[in-house]
Amino acid sequence: MNKKPVILLVLDILSLVFLAVAAYLALSYAPMEATMGNVQKVFYFHVANAWVGMLGFISAGVAGIAYLRSGNPKWDIVEVAAVEISLVFFLIAILLGSIWARPAWNTWWTWEPRLTTAAITEMIYLAYFMLRNGIEDPNRRARFSAVYTLVGAVSVPITFMAIRLFRTIHPVVIGSQSAQAQGGFNMSPDMEVAFFFSLFTFTIIFADLFWHRIRLGNLANKTEELKLKVME
């Protein structure tokens, strides 16, 4: 397992090349949006990072359920990997959202449903890691974190609905009434190219990082086992 698979190497290279192309498309190829100026270009990576966060969130939920059903420790490793990646990418998405909101709405933070839900999801992830840190027995740690992942996976969509019901001021970008919402805009075909390419790129990056993180988890487990063996 220590030997790096060729497909993973290919994914690494693809991720880097595509990331460069996506950055070029977003920064240079896509036209400037007239009402917001250049800051609108943050949008391409903002959405793509949030998308990776979503993929991680869903993967974590699936892994949690798989662990509870099978009891196979492999799923625990997958779950931690998914949670960690989702934590990092939701953080980037929130930061980029703030940087975009500052010139567009004249505030660093809007209590917009998606942004707020992402922030609450981050809180759940932090709680998740604190829970893991507080338990020594690996079996119990895996069980409790799978249970908490499941609880989080179910509560986050409900939270989103509750907050959306509470208030909504975020622009709807894709859809007919997009230009009506304040700060919303219509995407030109050039913008769509940059947008969908960055979504595609970040999906590849997600797969790549996910794989790497799972390998890291496997190695950590092996090291732990060996440590116990040597201690005896």
């Binding site: 609108q40 943050v42 940087i99 990082l209 190695l219």
Partner: protein, 52 residues
Amino acid sequence: MSISPETTNYMIAGYAVFFLVFTFYIVSLVVRWSNLRRDMHILEDLEIDNKS
């Protein structure tokens, strides 16, 4: 048509933040990986010593 606001600095800040956090995460993965590999080697050596 009105003149677009000058928000290039925010755009640069946005992409800088992305690349910063992204690089930081990858470095953390690499560091953790190499630390584990080192531990693994030490443990393997210890195990061989124990047996002999």
